[in-house]
Amino acid sequence: MDGPVVEVSHLRKTYGDKVAVDDVSFSVRPGEIFGILGPNGAGKTTAVETIAGMRRADGGTTRVLGHDTQRDPGAVRDRLGIQLQEATLHDRITVGEAVRLFAAFYPRPADPDDLLALLDLTEHADKQFRNLSGGQKQRLSIALALVGNPEVAILDELTTGLDPQARRSTWDLVDRVRATGVTILLVTHFMDEAERLCDRLVVIDAGRVVAEGTPRGLIDGLQADRTVVVRFAEGTAAPARAVLDRLTETHPDVHGVAPGSDGEVAVTGSRRVLFAVMPALAEADLVPDDIRTVTRTLEDVFLAVTGRTYAEQDDEDEPALATEGDRS
């Protein structure tokens, strides 16, 4: 299909006085990995569960594959795969049984054996759910989201609780899944995950979209200062510092100089700050031991749009288990 695969317009969802989703709009194109990024409690899970038709919205519209999921959530169940954050399975069901069971619910399921192979679960096919590691459970959960050969898959916090190794292999897996043509709606609170995987994304904070675009575009669009860090050997640190200090007064592209540890100096300024620093050092013949530009990330984007740093937001859970208004 050519139109948007997922289309959300002014979505709003409240629980009593608590506004979980205030106003969220975005649309997802076929074949892309679209991210919903935000801190814990921002309303991401509530938003996607409402989009999937599992919860009733208080306002706005949600369309998946052209169907209104508020009015007719059953219409897309054959074509939408969902990996839920908290769902588990019976302790004693095996990996193979679970995949075959879920495959039986769909009209054109994927081959269970192929899927187990894709998710590196073949050797664990006879293992019971209670004996799986966190990473294996997560991969099984993804397998169950994909077993119906969905056109759209919603993956909610799929690497939470995984070790770095398992996270990276899960990212590779998501790439492999997308290569099969599945459109992916990825919910995450990890900046690096969104940056690594998403073609486009929305940043959600307190139930509202605060930024939207490609990860690169969002970062490049930052108006904030860039930073160059220069490190000098012991003898040259002091004269270099003097040169750079003078630069902040004389050069329009250099805005500030801050000493760091171990002879490091951080110079901030406009996009052209590096061009200002290098000729000045060259002229004084001060050769730095090391020079690096500080990479800007989506964390800087979050800081710029919310005025808060992203790290260590409150870990309050979203009201994901609230029962009111749920569809049966």
Binding site: G74, R77, D326
Partner: protein
């Protein structure tokens, strides 16, 4: 059930029951692996029957003082206990096994997970009704075979009434178990609620005072309770000549009240 439901739902575009056979099969497998369920669902009635029959003195000797012409004439106490065992089997599966299973599924998000697939979560409830009905029947047949072989229990006087009483008893107790499963937010709560219903029910069903040993008061109250009515109707089908009209009506009315209540109250998450 599968076929008719599929046919009825197909026009709306959501099949709803596709894969029910696989669901039933898988649920049965994991039900069986969880050793407590097959024990209480299948073996427990026989264990109680054999225990009572062999460990309590005099259970296998004909009842003293039953006049000729009484339904209890020449009957052994263990024989009078058999209908009670059947009632207990029905109550045990419906109240100890099923509500805890379903409440655990709700607590762990299994029902919610299922609701995102084309399979309706009702499918898992239906699967467990089938599993418990079938395994309870198997457990009852096992108990009956043991009763016939070990205790020489006489054949029932009205087999059709016996079967009817068993089926209605199963229906009313599974409905009650569904209400418990619907009300309990968690598995532990399901167990607590079920037990507080289960033991009074067993009392009214005559587990401690079977057949002729039952005091009039318990019998009077018991005939209006789901499991008491089941027990008395089963006993009537085994030893009596008359039709247990009151007990049958009581079971039908309770089912008609409890089943819709369970459906109304049931939450998927």
């Amino acid at each position: 059930m599968t076929a008719t439901a599929t046919a009825r739902r197909r026009p709306t575009g959501t099949s709803g029951w596709r894969g029910f056979g696989r669901l039933l099969q898988t649920e049965f497998l994991v039900w069986f692996r969880d050793l407590a369920s097959p024990f209480f669902g299948v073996v427990f009635p026989t264990v109680v029957l054999v225990g009572v029959g062999f460990l309590i003195p005099g259970m296998r000797d004909p009842i003293q003082g039953a006049p000729p012409g009484s339904v209890w004439y020449q009957v052994t106490p263990i024989a009078t206990y058999v209908p009670t065992i059947l009632a207990m089997a029905v109550g045990t599966a419906a109240l100890t096994v099923m509500p805890v299973t379903l409440a655990t599924y709700r607590e762990k998000g299994v029902l919610r997970r299922l609701s995102t697939t084309p399979m309706r979560p009702q499918g898992i409830v239906a699967a467990h009704l089938v599993i418990n009905a079938v395994t309870t029947s198997v457990g009852v047949v096992l108990a009956l075979v043991v009763a016939a072989v070990a205790f020489d229990v006489p054949a029932p006087t009205q087999p059709a009434v016996l079967v009817l009483a068993f089926v209605l008893g199963l229906a009313v107790m599974l409905s009650l178990g569904m209400v418990v499963a619907a009300l309990a937010p968690r598995a532990s709560a399901a167990n607590g609620i079920a037990m507080s219903v289960y033991f009074p029910m067993l009392l009214l069903a005559g587990v401690w005072t079977p057949g002729p040993a039952m005091p009039d008061l318990i019998q009077e109250i018991g005939q209006f309770s789901p499991l008491g009515a089941a027990s008395q109707a089963l006993s009537a089908g085994w030893f009596d000549d008359g039709f247990p009209t009151l007990q049958v009506v009581v079971m039908v009315v309770w089912t008609a009240l409890l089943l819709p209540l369970a459906v109304r109250l049931f939450r998927w998450s």
